[in-house]
Amino acid sequence: MHIPDGYLSPQTYVPLLGASFIFWSVGLKKLKKKLSTRQVPYLAMAAVFSFLIMMFNIPIPGGTSGHAVGAGIIAVLLGPWTAVIAVSVVLIIQALIFGDGGITAIGANCFNIAVAMSFVSYWVFRIIKGKSDSPSRLSAAAFLSGYIGLTVSAILVAVQLGIQPLIAQAPDGRPLYAPYPLSVALPVMALEHLLLFGIVEGVVTVLLFKYFLKNEPELIYAVSEKGV
């Protein structure tokens, strides 16, 4: 899901950088209002967690590989705006230091993985939870928040890659950037996340959610609405 340099045309990555920039500015303003010294360690741990879980590449035997992101559980625990900032920091460091994701694609990657996933996961959790506090309902909400959040994020990546052949072609008609059309990119990315990586994300989200519900229930933003 980390789009490398050269896969997106400037017509795609410039607007997405602009979109991410708006979310970073609002996110930092929200943090300024609500973040307290006591919460800073959790913000750091959340970002570190996201960084580490992305290192666990999960293989599709004989095929590609993928990984969970952790943005869903971070959004549920610390709130979506905090998750946007935490995961964006991770993505920018991955691009700069480890060449994971392109420099030109930083805006796109932050939009897909940090912004979209955090908000989709958060709202899926809130909607499924509703007013209920039953453990099974909360667990279902946590699982689906990770599962749907990651899948939506992957579909956004697929759309951005899949429209490149339409946007830019060499004079001989060959694609200039990401080469595969939507008809290939969408089914591949959607299916591998629906069938495997999304499930892993959902399981990670529900396990951590249960841990925090048991040990630090007052920390959970999506339940208490008093967090960061």
Binding site: S9, P59, P61, Q94, T104, L176
Partner: protein, 120 residues
């Protein structure tokens, strides 16, 4: 001194969580061992130019131009270069994890200094 004060102020849960994160970093090499074991390649849409050449028979012109514009200091979490042995790659992966933990923690504390109001 300030650091020590911070550590001593850590709650039990925080200590437990940091321990969990360090364990994750030590287990991270599974993330390159398992894909190697199951013969699975790069994530979809994250191929290098060499792989693209094999997949398509050509490398798109625009992509070629931008693909290597940034020289990351530790590309692919690997400190041993492209021909590094599996052992070097596994050790690099753990080292990258720890380096990542350090840089991310520093950056978050740096951002927080500007964001957190005093006395909160």
């Amino acid at each position: 001194m300030r650091y020590q004060k911070r550590v001593s102020e850590m709650t039990k849960t925080q200590k437990r969580l940091w321990t969990g994160l360090v364990i994750m970093a030590l287990l991270a090499p599974l993330g390159i061992l398992l894909p190697a074991l199951f013969h699975s390649g790069d994530a979809w849409g994250e191929w290098g130019t060499g792989t693209l050449e094999k997949l398509l028979g050509f490398v798109p012109e625009g992509l070629k131009k931008y693909a290597d514009m940034w020289k990351a200091p530790a590309p692919d979490y690997n400190l041993g270069g492209e021909d590094a042995s599996m052992t070097v790659q596994l050790i690099s992966y753990i080292a990258s994890g720890i380096l990542g933990i350090a840089i991310i923690t520093l950056v978050i504390y740096f951002i927080s200094r500007f964001v957190v109001k005093n006395g909160k």
